[in-house]
Subunit: 112 residues, 2 copies
DNA sequence: AAGATATGCCTTATATATCGGTCAATTCGA
DNA sequence: TCGAATTGACCGATATATAAGGCATATCTT
């Protein structure tokens, strides 16, 4: 009977999604856009936008980010150039680490 | 022939995703976790984790957020309580606006 | 107050992401 | 150096999200 194993999410994850969804909703309303309008602009169904504003964990992350951008919600508080710079810096930091991770060394090294 | 209309994403969206993916990758490596380990911890296939670290717009946002949390990448720079507070504040701000948006008034009201 | 519009919630068919696996190439530990 | 492990890329089958629409209710405009 296939069981359909259900996935669970940490509370922090769900709350983060709820917040993002509400921020999108707020941004949309401040711009006086209807669900129909924003959905059309995004090229998606209104029902999908509704799931996004509710913080449904199953929606495509690309759509969520796109919607956020359209209604003026910034993630990473950085503009186009800022993001690009952050990507470079992250690449540099990754390059400093071993290419492969091996289960031998058990240090955690936790300073971001 | 069904045409399979392809979706496009803004550059800003794609770069944001690339950044998030790389941050997850960096976080994973700093914690010395292999792809296999993190995927198992998340309850997903390794191939899916690989798409996430590449910033694929099609992955579930819930998985991306969950992965970020596990490897110590903070979005919204706020902890559990902080997120909850932000949700409340966002709810309050939404409550101040009209329940329905009507296409009559065209003001944009852009101050976040 | 009345009419029009937006929103909430639900459902089915279809498109598509995920899973689970394989194979090759790379890189680390001993 | 050699062997074991990690990573990168790819693939088909299946589970699942999305699209599209309907209907009821709420709320705005005039």
């Amino acid at each position: 009977m296939a069981a359909t194993q259900k996935r669970t999410y940490a509370r922090y994850t769900l709350e983060g999604l709820t917040l993002l969804g509400k921020m999108i909703r707020l941004g949309r309303k401040k711009r006086k856009m209807t669900e129909h309008e924003l959905a059309e602009r995004l090229g998606i169904a209104r029902s999908t936008l509704q799931r996004m504003e509710k913080g449904d964990p199953k929606v495509e992350i690309g759509l969520m980010f796109e919607a956020a951008a359209i209604v003026g919600v910034k993630l990473f508080d950085a503009d186009e150039k800022g993001i690009t710079a952050l990507i470079s810096r992250t690449d540099d930091r990754i390059a400093l680490l071993p290419k492969h991770v091996y289960k031998a060394g058990k240090r955690v090294d936790d300073e971001f």
